[in-house]
């Protein structure tokens, strides 16, 4: 996710619990895959937060001040990495149904057709 070459995800917060069983996958992810994820994304600020007694989640803060929270409760480390990669890959825009698949500011090059256009 990078608009015109600028990465949009600024900060990733990994919140986990060191006692609960739902955080098992996140704890394994933090040991095995988080270092390589950090190295692959030097522009990203990754923070781990201990939140005892709560279920784990990933929180992504984007440049447009948007916050996306993804619960990683009871997930395997591979699934947690997939979630983290998805957060990194997306812009911070709101998840709504797309109006069009082609977004443009200049829809016409040779002039928009009217009934009086002559070829």
């Amino acid at each position: 996710m990078s608009q015109r070459g600028v990465w949009q995800l600024q900060k990733l917060i990994v919140s986990y619990c060191n006692w609960g069983g739902s955080s098992r996958g996140v704890r394994a992810f933090m040991e095995s895959e988080l270092p390589s994820f950090k190295e692959a994304n030097p522009q990203l600020e990754v923070v781990t937060e201990l939140n005892r007694g709560q279920h784990p989640y990933l929180k992504g803060l984007y440049k447009n001040k948007n916050e996306r929270v993804v619960s990683v409760m009871n997930m395997t480390p591979e699934e947690v990495q997939l979630c983290a990669t998805r957060l990194r890959n997306s812009l911070g825009r709101k998840v709504v149904k797309l109006k069009t698949r082609h977004v443009t500011k200049h829809p016409s090059v040779q002039g928009t057709w009217t009934t009086s256009t002559q070829i």
């Binding site: 015109r4 082609h102 443009t104």
Partner: protein, 257 residues
């Protein structure tokens, strides 16, 4: 005659027991000849009505001892069906096919794009708008694009975010004065694009119902999309645009001086 009949029945029983050892639930009372017989009657009375002269027919309603059958099957067919069993198990799991670089390139070329490399900070790829358009095909979808447009396509497999791509399936090029139509593809044309994001679309709920039949199903689906930003169109003469910024600078210098 009676003796011959007895021998015949004996032979039949032997044949059947040897042929269908596993499926046999009724164990014939053969004295000492059949090693599987558990019951040894002291008086082998062949003429008694207790002996059933079973035929060779097997019915689907025959009670099979399924555990025994399966165990025997597995032990016998282990070598042959090992691969098949493994394949079935693997297919049930998520199969991630490992593509070699050549396979990746050929598949990507088939869809209609080619990965060049990562976008560097020093690349000045995002230019001003030029009044040139191209009709591009990616996978099964076609778009009419121009410089600076954004396109949402199905997820492109072999590219990361911030990758530069060349889209080579160009069907038509056009500008203010000129138009080039490909048959069906223009060979010399190329369109450059940059991958902006790989994201999931909003969730659509697929709801199935058959009225008065007590049938209702709900399924959620999020499509994976890739957003491409078109940066350059090559293969057609672009009209020269007058540069506005140098004129302004000249004016400011004249005003200050």
């Amino acid at each position: 005659m009676a003796n011959r009949r007895c021998i015949q029945t004996l032979a039949q029983q032997l044949y059947k027991s040897l042929q269908h050892l596993r499926t046999l639930t009724y164990i014939p009372n053969l004295p000492k000849l059949n090693p599987k017989s558990h019951h040894m009657f002291p008086n082998a009375n062949f003429n008694s009505p207790l002996i059933h002269f079973t035929t060779y027919r097997h019915y689907s309603s025959d009670q099979h001892d399924n555990s025994d059958v399966s165990k025997d099957d597995d032990s016998e067919y282990d070598d042959d069906d090992d691969d098949v069993m493994e394949n079935n198990n693997v297919a049930s799991c998520v199969v991630k096919k490992e593509y070699s670089p050549e396979e990746q390139e050929t598949e990507a070329a088939a869809i209609g794009y080619k990965v060049i490399g990562q976008l560097q900070r020093s690349d000045r790829v995002f230019k001003a708008y030029e009044p040139v358009f191209a009709v591009i095909q990616i996978g099964a979808h076609q778009f009419k694009v121009s410089n600076g447009d954004c396109i949402y396509t199905e997820k492109l497999k072999f590219c990361e975010v911030n990758d530069k791509l060349i889209l080579n399936k160009v069907l038509m090029l056009g500008s203010k004065a000129q138009m080039m139509i490909g048959r069906s593809v223009l060979p010399e044309a190329a369109v450059h694009a940059v991958v902006e994001e790989h994201a999931l679309d909003a969730k659509v709920i697929i709801f199935k119902k058959k009225r008065r039949k007590n049938y209702r199903r709900t399924k959620g689906h999020r499509q994976e999309l890739t957003k491409l930003r078109i940066t350059d169109i090559q293969g057609i003469e672009k009209p020269e645009m007058p540069m506005p910024t140098p004129a302004k600078k000249v004016e400011k210098a004249a005003v200050t001086a």
